[in-house]
């Protein structure tokens, strides 16, 4: 019992050394107080207090100042602080990015249909060079699908300019790696009577060279609009040279490499925001 209460000689030596300048006497008083409690230890205590301070004792600190500063700051140092901040920041970054990834995954999963896809599906159309284009040509790449018509007064050209910016932002993004799927921009006309392949070719070349323009018969267009849940109001029997407008939905549809719908991008998104959304999904793709 008594041994556990009395501090070891060496500890006392070190302690008293640190306080040598100010209150070296206090050790004696403390010691004496201890001795009153345990008379058994009186002998040893007296021997400590009476012993001259040795200069050869092992000292963990070179100077008194160093030890004092160590004493004041306790276990905290700039190294510990830095480690704390970097690991904290790292964890915050990790959880944020993981949260964003899970959110994107949730969106992508929620829109994925069971069995038959809810949006999208098989189709056969004609591209602006006159070659057939089917949903199989979209496989292996993310595609950004937009519905419109070339005689559109103001919304489609604005949206297509935005689309061109998105394509460039996505394709030049520094986050891309060799395995990142590429983005296929597709424009599908809602006005097949006027938008022949050659008309689409002339129209789309003004916006972006990568754009693929698709057209077909009125029935084919009606079918794909139904599959993509696009509202359109093109009359079926139009006379040549007739001047009319087509009402249609204005969304960009992001489709994944397996042909599943991922997310819709609307007019409220700036090209930068849209590119961020697209890149988020594209970079998530692992297969």
């Amino acid at each position: 019992m008594s041994k556990s209460i009395i501090p070891s000689r060496r500890l006392l030596t070190t302690f008293s050394q640190s306080l040598r300048n100010e209150n070296s006497r206090s050790i004696d008083t403390q010691c004496c107080r201890l001795t009153t409690l345990r008379t058994q230890a009186q002998q040893s205590c007296q021997s400590i207090s009476g012993r001259p301070f040795s200069t050869t004792t092992i000292r963990p600190y070179k100077t008194v100042q160093e030890q004092r500063s160590r004493y004041r700051s306790g276990p905290f140092s700039w190294k510990a602080g830095l480690l704390f901040l970097t690991s904290g920041a790292g964890l915050i970054y990790y959880f944020r990015s993981e949260k964003a990834r899970m959110e994107r995954k949730r969106i992508a999963e929620a829109t994925k249909g069971v069995g038959r896809p809810k949006v999208g599906g098989p189709f056969t159309l004609t591209d602006q060079t006159g070659k057939p284009f089917t949903d199989q040509d979209m496989r292996g790449k993310y595609s950004l699908v937009y519905f419109g018509f070339s005689h559109c007064p103001d919304i489609c050209p604005e949206e297509l300019d935005k689309m061109a910016q998105m394509i460039d932002l996505v394709s030049t993004s520094p986050t891309r790696t060799a395995s990142t799927p590429s983005l296929l921009p597709i424009f599908i006309t809602c006005d097949p009577a006027r938008d022949t392949p050659a008309v689409l070719d002339a129209y789309l070349s003004e916006f972006h060279p990568a754009l693929i323009g698709l057209t077909g018969t009125w029935e084919q267009i009606k079918d794909i609009c139904k599959k993509y849940r696009v509202y359109f109001s093109t009359p079926s029997g139009v006379k040549k040279g007739e001047d009319y407008l087509v009402d249609h939905s204005i969304y960009f549809y992001l489709m994944d490499p397996e042909g599943d719908f991922v997310e819709a991008i609307g007019r409220q998104h700036s090209p930068q925001q849209a590119a961020t959304i697209i890149l988020g999904h594209v970079n998530d793709w692992k297969k």
């Binding site: 005689h151 103001d154 604005e158 050659a198 008309v199 070719d201 003004e206 001047d243 407008l245 007019r267």
Partner: protein
């Protein structure tokens, strides 16, 4: 309109593509049309005309010059569309003002970006 045959208020015939269909107005033609539209609408603004279709006589009286330029640079379906959209936007802004006056607060979030369609002052 004039007695001495002023410039016809029609669009020049469109270019024909290689497969025989008329090509839609290109970027410069669109810009020209929008310029004509903006000039016409600023004239309507000056004369306090909102609906140039129902107030046709008034619009014709004050803005006939601008109107003819507008029609000369845009397809007629576009002219009607822009005129109708002007009315629609006016109504929309009025409703928004009314709601704001009643103390409605705009919910922060996803609306059309400023300066785009639907946000024109």
């Amino acid at each position: 309109m004039g007695l001495f045959g002023s410039a016809p208020a029609t669009l020049p015939p469109p270019k024909i593509s290689s497969d025989g269909a008329p090509i839609a107005p290109d970027r410069t033609q669109r810009a020209k049309c929008w310029e004509g539209r903006d000039a016409y609408f600023s004239c309507l603004d000056k004369n306090n005309i909102i609906d140039s279709i129902t107030e046709k006589d008034k619009a014709e009286k004050f803005c006939s010059g601008e109107g003819r330029k507008f029609e000369a640079n845009c397809a007629s379906s576009w002219v009607t569309y822009f005129k109708k959209r002007r009315v629609m936007e006016h109504q929309k802004n009025e409703t928004l003002e009314k709601l704001r006056a009643e103390g409605a607060k705009q919910v922060p979030g996803e609306m059309a970006p400023p300066g785009s369609f639907g946000q024109r002052p």
